[in-house]
């Protein structure tokens, strides 16, 4: 009995130390963000600032057009997520439920391309977009990301798990393919779709290299790109940098805590099946 209590205590201890390590960067980011410039560089470190300089947020916010960056990030995230959802649903349906020539080869080729590092695609894509005249426009930030092989693969796997008989039943009930997809398959695949949406939204919100390359004017930048240029401007004003970082990280943390069950389940499922 005593031993069990001891080992349980040990487990808690390890987990708590681990959690502290995980949370410390976030905590330190936040604490720094409300310090005065003098406190930032103080050694030993100041854990609780003398007064909370919330105006750091205001200052950081006004030093760069963060409002514009935020709007851009929201537009890009929402549109590319919705768009990807539609293309993914349609394509996954075709790959899981329809019989057509070349299906397996096409699917294999798509899967194969997942192995290619994304950085390879940047320059040819840049050229394509500039030929289309889309550079520095929302199209460039959104359209290339409207379809994802990984999402299609994930949803296809989920669709395959839905019994074939359901589609037969629906067919007999007078429901055509398209309607069946939206009234039966989509509601049933809700868990998988939520996963896809969340992973996409996180990825889109956090994406960096692509927006860096295809945007030119300040007005078109997204938050992470804005943050890097801000970091040059802010120099070593770490309190401002941390305030800006907090502003970028916070929306995703809130989203995460609201929907963490889906995110974690989704990752677990996507991982195990993938």
């Amino acid at each position: 009995m005593q031993r069990a209590a001891f080992s349980k205590g040990f487990i808690y201890l390890v987990l708590i130390i681990g959690s502290v390590c995980m949370l410390l960067p976030f905590a330190w980011m936040f604490i720094t963000s409300i310090k005065s410039p003098g406190e930032v560089m103080m050694m030993p470190p100041v854990w609780i600032p003398e007064d909370f300089k919330w105006e750091n947020y205001k200052e950081a916010w006004s030093m760069a057009p963060f409002a514009r960056y935020t709007i851009n990030s929201i537009i890009v995230t929402v549109l590319s997520t919705l768009g990807e959802l539609v293309t993914t649903i349609l394509a996954a349906y075709a790959f899981s439920r329809m019989h057509f020539y070349g299906r397996d080869i096409l699917f294999s080729i798509l899967l194969g391309t997942m192995m290619v590092p994304g950085e390879v695609l940047l320059i040819p894509n840049y050229v394509t977009l500039s030929n289309l005249g889309w550079i520095d426009q929302y199209q460039a930030l959104i359209i290339p990301w409207l379809a994802s092989i990984f999402s299609i693969f994930l949803l296809r796997q989920f669709f395959l798990g839905i019994p074939q008989e359901l589609s037969y039943a629906a067919k007999i009930d007078g429901c055509n393919n398209f309607r069946f997809l939206w009234t039966i398959m989509v509601p049933l695949a809700k868990p998988a779709l939520i996963t896809i949406v969340l992973l996409k939204a996180i990825g889109s919100w956090n994406s960096f290299l692509w927006p860096l390359i295809v945007t030119q004017s300040k007005e078109m930048r997204t938050l992470p790109v804005g943050l890097t240029s801000f970091s040059t401007e802010a120099g070593i004003n770490y309190e401002l940098l941390m305030a800006a970082s907090t502003m970028i990280i916070l929306p995703m943390i809130i989203l995460y805590f609201c929907l963490q069950r889906y995110i974690i389940e989704g990752v677990a499922k996507a991982g195990i099946k993938g």
């Binding site: 359901l166 037969y168 039943a169 629906a170 007078g174 049933l188």
Partner: protein
């Protein structure tokens, strides 16, 4: 609606799943498609439903050729083996779904769905989701959904196979009740001969995509057209004893013994290919006597006696062939007794050893 299948075939790649099926089903009949798994019965059902397109042959619903009619336009209802209920919809929504697709006004659809739910006795479960129902209840929902459109033809694909033994009997009676109440032509796929016997007006027996026999269940039991049908129907299985036929004396001799029996049934000599045959006798058709001297009988040695309450099953050996006989429970017999066996009148079958066809001429 009467159904007619003419030379219906289905080929998957190299496999001939259904081969030249010719069947006529009368209006209002319940027909079982029976056979071991992989015999093509489900394929036939799916062709009837329009989910598969036949490779060749014709299907008539009434007088209409339906080969190229889409499932939703065939006027059919179907119940699947796993019920295929829409998991995210309530019972009511499930039943209403076909009506919704047919653009029936919501109010009317709901009324009809409730009516149908009451018919299958699930009126109190309308707000539940399929997951919250027992197997039998799901079954009823599936039937209600299949019937709510008032189809001309009801297709049931092994609907009872996912239920436990007691529920299976209950549901099978229930299906029969509903079918007769609605008066709908019904096709019922099963691999369970007892189920088919108990529920059907007619049974269509198939093997490896080949038609075997299509007749009333009792007829099929009493007069199987070949060894396969004979063996497939009935439990315990029919006894098959190799015999040699004596054409001159119209008698048979059990191989490996001196036992001879006179054959009184009329035989179809056109089907005979030699004198090696198999004598088919159902366990309940043996008459067992302890005494010597009964005519047209043979002796066998008792190996084991099983009492199951209602009946007594005697395992015995004649020559080196094991046989089983059901006898009256009053009859007292012990292992290693020698008994005399005779066969009830007109209850024996003779199968040609080579063609496996039944040589005894039936009533028809």
């Amino acid at each position: 609606m009467k159904i007619q299948l003419k030379e219906l075939s289905m080929k998957f790649d190299d496999v001939l799943a259904v081969n030249g099926l010719n069947v006529h089903i009368n209006k209002g009949e319940l027909v079982s498609l029976l056979g071991p798994s992989g015999c093509g019965k489900s394929t036939t059902l799916f062709m009837l439903a329009g989910l598969y397109k036949p490779s060749s042959g014709e299907m008539y619903f009434g007088d209409t050729l339906v080969n190229n009619v889409e499932p939703e336009n065939r006027g059919i209802g179907m119940v699947f083996q796993n019920y295929a209920l829409y998991p995210h919809m309530t019972v009511l929504k499930n039943i209403m779904f076909p009506l919704k697709m047919a653009k029936v006004p919501h109010k009317k659809a709901e009324e009809k769905a409730i009516e149908m739910a009451n018919l299958v006795q699930i009126g109190h479960l309308l707000d539940r989701k399929p997951k919250q129902l027992s197997g039998g209840q799901q079954q009823r929902v599936a039937i209600a959904r299949a019937l709510v459109k008032q189809p001309q033809l009801l297709l049931l694909d092994e609907p009872l196979s996912n239920l436990d033994a007691r529920l299976r009997i209950e549901m099978r009676e229930e299906i029969r009740r509903i079918q007769q109440e609605v008066g709908i032509t019904t096709i019922f796929v099963t691999h369970d001969q007892e189920e088919a016997m108990s529920i059907s007006d007619k049974v269509l027996l198939m093997k490896d995509g080949q038609f075997q026999q299509y007749s009333k269940p009792q007829e099929m039991y009493d007069h199987p057209v070949n060894m396969f049908v004979g063996k497939f129907m009935g439990n315990p299985p029919i006894n098959m004893i190799p015999v040699t036929f004596d054409h001159k004396n119209l008698s048979i001799q059990i191989n490996g013994t001196d036992e001879k029996l006179k054959v009184t049934s009329k035989l179809n000599y056109e089907l005979v290919s030699g004198n090696q045959m198999l004598l088919g006798v159902r366990a309940e058709d043996f008459v067992l006597e302890k005494l010597e001297g009964i005519s047209n009988s043979f002796s066998a040695k008792v190996d084991l006696v099983e009492r199951t309450g209602r009946d007594t099953l005697v395992h015995a050996t004649v020559g080196n062939h094991a046989i089983r006989a059901l006898v009256n429970q009053d009859f007292v017999v012990k292992p290693s007794n020698i008994v005399k066996l005779s066969i009830r009148k007109n209850r024996l079958q003779l199968f040609d050893a080579e063609t496996e066809l039944n040589l005894v001429l039936g009533k028809e």
